[in-house]
């Protein structure tokens, strides 16, 4: 949590990027504590790994320190406080942390996932079976998202200096105007 605060405060982008990496790592730890090993695994690999690497890569291409913006906006603060208030408000009727009688633990679909999946799917790791079979369609979507991101980045960053059929010369993105 202090990390998060630090991220906001810090102006040097290098350290805030590293910090966000650490933040992901910590949260991964928290996930383990909360019995979400797969998520923790992923978060560690992605948050601490991929994102950080990419961000560092970006920093290498852009500025490394943030300009001090003297303007202090009230509006964002208000929005944030409002949203936070709404969330706190929402918690008041929530089932407590780890409460086994919470709606999501009672009844379907959770129980089937837990007790039937082993013979419906025959895979010990329930997460995997839910991920790949019960909600396989979601995972397909997820894969497509990654694919989209890949395409998007290529569209944006790949240099294209090949001659077109129309004989148009090298299209440099720098020549934006």
């Amino acid at each position: 949590m202090s990390t998060a605060i630090a991220i906001v405060v810090l102006r040097d982008l290098w350290s805030s990027v590293i910090l966000s990496g650490i933040f992901s790592l910590i949260s991964a730890g928290l996930f383990v504590v909360m019995d979400a090993v797969d998520v923790a695994f992923t978060e560690a690999a992605v948050g601490a790994g991929v994102s950080t690497v990419l961000m560092l890569g970006t920093l290498a291409l852009t500025d490394t320190s943030e300009k001090r913006s003297d303007r202090f906006q009230v509006l964002p603060l208000l929005v944030v406080l409002l949203t936070g208030a709404a969330l706190i408000y929402s918690t008041l009727d929530m089932p407590h942390y780890g409460d086994p009688y919470a709606p999501i633990h009672l009844g379907e679909p959770a129980n089937t996932y837990i007790y039937k999946s082993s013979n419906e799917i025959g895979v010990p790791n329930i997460v995997t079976s839910v991920l790949a079979s019960y909600r396989g369609y979601d995972t397909l979507g997820e894969t497509v998202v990654i694919f989209t991101a890949g395409i998007g980045v290529l569209l944006l960053l790949r240099r294209s200096c090949e001659m077109d059929q129309e004989g148009k010369t090298c299209v440099n993105e720098e020549s934006h105007s």
């Binding site: 605060i5 990027v17 996930f31 994102s51 291409l61 780890g98 086994p100 837990i114 010990p124 993105e173």
Partner: protein, 117 residues
């Protein structure tokens, strides 16, 4: 003190808002993305903590375990994480291009440049 059980949600919410604030208040494009990350990760925490059950174990079936935490949120969050990283990478790519086109990644400067253009 019934609300003790909600304490960890509140922590999550505070985290969320920190991220959210960074997104909408900071002028630096990269910083915005970092904030977005924090925001999303804390939303993930919300999901994961709702999945947890007292005395439960990770939802991997093995002998001697009776109570498992709810696997569904885990799955959802796995997907959400992927979505998050995709967004981040695309955003970063955009930042790089913006830097090339405008020579800065500060919102104010860019806005000024656009007004001139």
């Amino acid at each position: 003190m019934p609300n003790l059980g909600l304490f960890n949600y509140w922590v999550v919410i505070v985290l969320m808002m920190t991220g959210f604030y960074t997104v909408i208040a900071r002028g630096n494009l990269i910083k915005k993305l970092i904030g977005l990350n924090v925001f999303q990760v804390s939303v993930f925490m919300l999901y994961i903590s709702m999945a947890n059950v007292k005395g439960g174990t990770a939802p991997i079936i093995f002998e001697g375990a009776k109570i498992y935490s709810n696997p569904l949120p885990h799955v959802l969050i796995l997907t959400a994480i992927v979505v998050g990283v995709s967004t981040t990478s695309l955003g970063l790519a955009l930042v790089v291009r913006i830097k090339e086109a405008f020579g800065t990644i500060e919102e104010d400067d860019i806005r000024r440049l656009e007004e001139e253009a």
